[in-house]
Symmetry: C2
Subunit: 416 residues, 2 copies
């Protein structure tokens, strides 16, 4: 099943307005999931004036009611596990010291669980930094950045900063990354970025396909595999490949299944020589709160199965409702997000949903009618279902102009 | 008074060994105070083998007894204030969400207290990142990095990565930065770095001198003023200059007087256009623990006077003891560190002190006989005084070789 082929024509006036929004948003630093979500939220209210990040934040806060359902940033509403919360509280008093011991313990526990040597693990405050640094390091003029479409936008932003050409290859008909197209995109590719499960579609690329890509991509190209969402799915990791190759970096984060987006902890796994190169871009002592919360989360053996099941049920229930009601869902998500082809301008749907206090995710310019939905609590998703049906039952607005007042919208990822 | 003119000759064997250590340490990422302190600690035990950061950390942990006095990394033994500890505990449960509201509140409270608009404030996980990013952005081939000597080494490391020439100018006879020499060092300087109070000497450069430097440096040179230690001293900030100029960046951190080195929070203050340029190097959503702890620390009006007095007393007591006992202290420190000219090889003194379970700070290669002492608690400093007198009362070891067993030492900053 291929969806999303119909694109609504844009009036000239709205096109100009959207272009203005895209330009103003591109002038602020947007490199992480939270910032993309924020930008999508703020754009509608911005007009065409350039905005500072502070203005963008203020705009978002003004436009989101305090009791809104937030299913726009692939956050985990369950938050840190109990052990992580306790650990953060108990370690706070030790905060006067730089503490390498906690970071080492995190590296070692992660290494042991994933059968990689701890020297192959670098700890960061989330995975945004190593993603950005990897692209700055390995792509540039003459060494393009290659990625699927749609996919998570941060790598493309970094590539623009690195002055690398951005090449995007459509997903397959099963919404997997098209590894043949990625491998063939550019013989001088600097970086091939592959997010598995993919953000925003939640769809899986098989380990077999990724191993094929490793063996068939240009030799000097770095494969950057973003496994931020892997524990929410049945996808198989390729982290073991780092043991024998210097052309792969695997990213992990504690922001998703571990519910620590606001605590900031993530990992890059690669050969030590590769990790060392990334250090040139920046390297920061880690917060003890992040390290200890990450480690005790890894040690909580019930966390992954329990949360995977809960989020899976919330996703499945919601998708069943949507398909029962004949809405078109992009199939195959195993993650905490999925996409709906609304058959109308996605930004309008976002705005209409926001009026009902349900903040949904953004659109990607390759699919302007398709919105991303993050999976919240079962209660969040019940509110989403009610609001979505009401919005979709209402007639399509003739104009594509933004409604008056605080609205949402984003002219699309700059990756396209 | 000019100290430190006597340098001990090195035997060839020890020179080769030290060169090996310097080379092996330069192959790992060392960009922050904690990492420089760690490297100094680990170097003695490393032999000449290249080390991964993990190996370096393991070595340090093995070489430092658990009950050692740690006065080697300019940490604040008082740790986060009570309000910050409580705030960290109470906010942990909200850690599932990216939270821009806490970051905004920090920017606004800091802005209000310092009379700068919040758009001029960027929040980072400490000041290491904006220091590194500033040097990567504004120095490079043909645009040198200019700094005093001795001074904090991180900027020089970043300059090497940026392939910028590093130019160092000696301090004045009063151990202030020599602003005339800094201004004249290179008409094409990319960055002039000025740490005030200076790390490692704790000495002050007057606001008048810094304003003179701003007006007399090459027009396109960025002045990077590191005010990490300013609240421990009577030095006057130049943060107000950011309001009217695009050629100054001021760094602040919560790692020093606020006691949050392990919590990670810092700020860059500059014109929004400048802050935006730094974003290209990397930009990470902030931890809510860092933001809330930073904000409530700012709001604790008793924190600065109480801690400044306590650390000042501990410093004054210790320096009085040292001068009473005829040891040569570099005069003028108003910070949580000061330096002693030991009249013998500083690395040997470090090693001898470590044997007495007092871990002191490193040497700078311009002054190989001079060690940096961080100011710990009054109890820490009492233990330091006893151990230091014992070490100095013992005869100078004839050879410069490291003693057997876990020792300390670092062949010096690569800035020299």
């Amino acid at each position: 099943m291929q969806l999303c082929k119909i694109q609504q024509p844009l009036s000239r006036r709205s096109f100009v307005r959207m272009a203005g929004l895209a330009a103003s948003l591109s002038s602020v630093g947007i490199f992480s999931e939270s910032q993309f979500a924020l930008a999508a939220q703020a754009a509608g209210a911005s007009g065409q004036k350039p905005m500072s990040q502070l203005q963008m934040m203020k705009m978002m806060m003004a436009s989101i009611p305090k009791d809104a359902v937030l299913i726009n940033a692939n956050e985990n509403p369950l938050g840190p596990c109990e052990a992580a919360r306790s650990a953060i509280s108990s370690v706070a008093s030790k905060g006067g010291r730089y503490d390498f011991a906690e970071m080492m313990m995190l590296m070692e526990v992660f290494g042991k669980q994933n059968n990689v040597a701890p020297e192959y693990v670098a700890v960061y405050g989330g995975s945004s930094e190593p993603l950005h640094y990897s692209v700055l390091t390995y792509s540039g003029p003459g060494h393009s950045f290659v990625a699927g479409n749609p996919t998570y936008e941060a790598g493309g932003r970094a590539a623009e900063i690195a002055k690398a050409k951005v090449i995007q290859t459509p997903l397959t008909s099963a919404y997997a990354h098209d590894v043949k197209a990625l491998a063939a995109a550019d013989p001088n590719a600097g970086v091939i970025y592959l997010c598995n499960p993919n953000n925003p579609t939640g769809t899986i690329t098989s380990r077999k396909d990724i191993l094929w890509l490793l063996d068939n991509k240009p030799k000097d190209t770095m494969l950057l595999v973003d496994e931020a969402y892997i524990h929410l799915s049945d996808a198989e990791s390729v982290i073991d490949q780092t043991a024998t190759r210097k052309d792969i970096i695997v990213l992990r984060t504690f922001s998703k299944i571990y519910g620590m987006a606001g605590i900031r902890c993530g990992l890059a796994v690669a050969h030590p020589d590769v990790l060392h190169k990334l250090e040139n871009c920046g390297q920061n002592p880690m917060a003890i709160t992040s390290c200890i919360a990450g480690r005790v989360s890894l040690e909580d053996t019930s966390l992954i199965p329990t949360r995977k099941a809960y989020i899976g049920e919330a996703r499945t229930e919601t998708i069943k409702f949507l398909t029962d009601n004949k809405y078109k869902v992009i199939p195959g998500s195993q993650s905490n997000c999925f996409m709906i082809d609304t058959g109308r301008n996605g930004r309008q749907v976002m705005a209409a949903m926001a009026k009902k206090k349900v903040i949904i995710g953004r659109t990607w310019s390759i699919w302007p009618n398709v919105v991303r939905i993050s999976v919240g609590t079962k209660e969040d998703m019940a509110k989403f279902r009610t609001a979505f049906k009401e919005v979709m039952d209402a007639p399509v607005t003739a104009s594509l102009e933004y409604p008056a007042g605080p609205t949402v919208g984003f002219a699309g990822s700059r990756l396209s």
